[in-house]
Amino acid sequence: MNDPADDGYAVALLKSMLDTPSPSYQEGELAADLMVQMRAMGYTAHLDKAGNVVGVLDRGRGPTVMMLGHIDTVPGSVPVRFEEGRLYGRGAVDAKGPMAAMVCAGARATGFCGRVVVVGAVEEETPGSRGAVHIRKNHPPPDALIVGEPSGWSAVVLGYKGKLDLHYRVERPATHPSSPWPKAVELAAEVWRALLTHLGPDTSHTRFDRPGVTLVSLMGDLTRASAEFSVRTPPGFDGDACLDALRRATPEGELLVRNAVAACRVGRSDPVVRALSAAIRDQGARPTAKVKTATSDMNTLAEEWRIPMATYGPGDSTLCHHDDEHIELADYLAAVRVLTGALTALPAAESTAS
């Protein structure tokens, strides 16, 4: 039953993970279950202080390769079931499918020389990404990193946009609506207008190289108002200049940064990208390279780890958080083989690049 080389076992592992709900902040049961499963597959596994499950396979001298996915999901239930070669369930693609694929691949890659570290991180779906931050602070940077998110089994993600989440609040003395002084809700609207002006006319949520902006909320009246803005930032975006511009435009009130993470992007010649692409080719497909307009734990880790990295995992990312979330089992099993091949090839790819 615990033979990781068995596709049936790989599917059973994913189903058991889907059968255990794990919305953010409630990952404990799944983390403990996964620790037990990893030990049965030969990993040395433990739960760290953040609640992440960490499994290690020591296979002699060689690089340390970390595969990090997340075990939390957004809230909501999707009945777990098999239908026409698909497995349905909350987290099937985001990101228990990629996580289970990494766990199985680590165990299958017996030809890999070095150390495999597989991390199931908590709270990726929350603003703080506490699990990945804990790993970044407490784990030495590995030699290479694969982040588990649904790229699609034949695609590799090279990077993600960053994010700047802002909160504005202001209070003004009570006054008649016809008074000439600015009202609180007008000031909040003015910050939104100043943000649009600063970002320019070409904002986009579909282009990687342009900022995208969302007015998340705007509430208020004449005396009190608050607003939330979310900016998806391209590589090189100057967050401090943005904040300065907003504070100059609207000196009243308080503008706070709720969350900020920079964009990240590696090149196609990155050793991890090359190893994953070669493994995809070995499965008979033409590898696709993607950049994404959302964020993931790759952003969090890339802020301090200057190492080869990429994001990879099975699943259609348009089904993330969807009521119909499911994964094609053939794609999931193909991803297990791709990850196994990439792991085995990584030491060679790294030495070629250096």
Binding site: V157, Y160, H205, T206, R268, R281, T288, K290, K292
Partner: protein, 54 residues
């Protein structure tokens, strides 16, 4: 050596080239895709796709 289809610069061929492998032209930084092995042929690699979501 192979010739870059963008700038006609000389590009070192991969030691063990494989179809769909990506190589970079050191002169113009173009990304090239191996599209044939015998003889070795390269073409400009497809653009990196931009995708919504995680």
């Amino acid at each position: 050596m192979i010739t870059c289809p963008e700038c006609e610069g000389r590009v070192a061929a991969p030691e063990e080239p494989r179809v769909h492998e990506i190589v970079e032209c050191a002169e113009c930084r173009s990304e090239l895709e191996v599209v044939g092995l015998d003889p070795l042929l390269v073409a400009l690699a497809p653009e990196v796709e931009e995708d919504w979501g995680e």
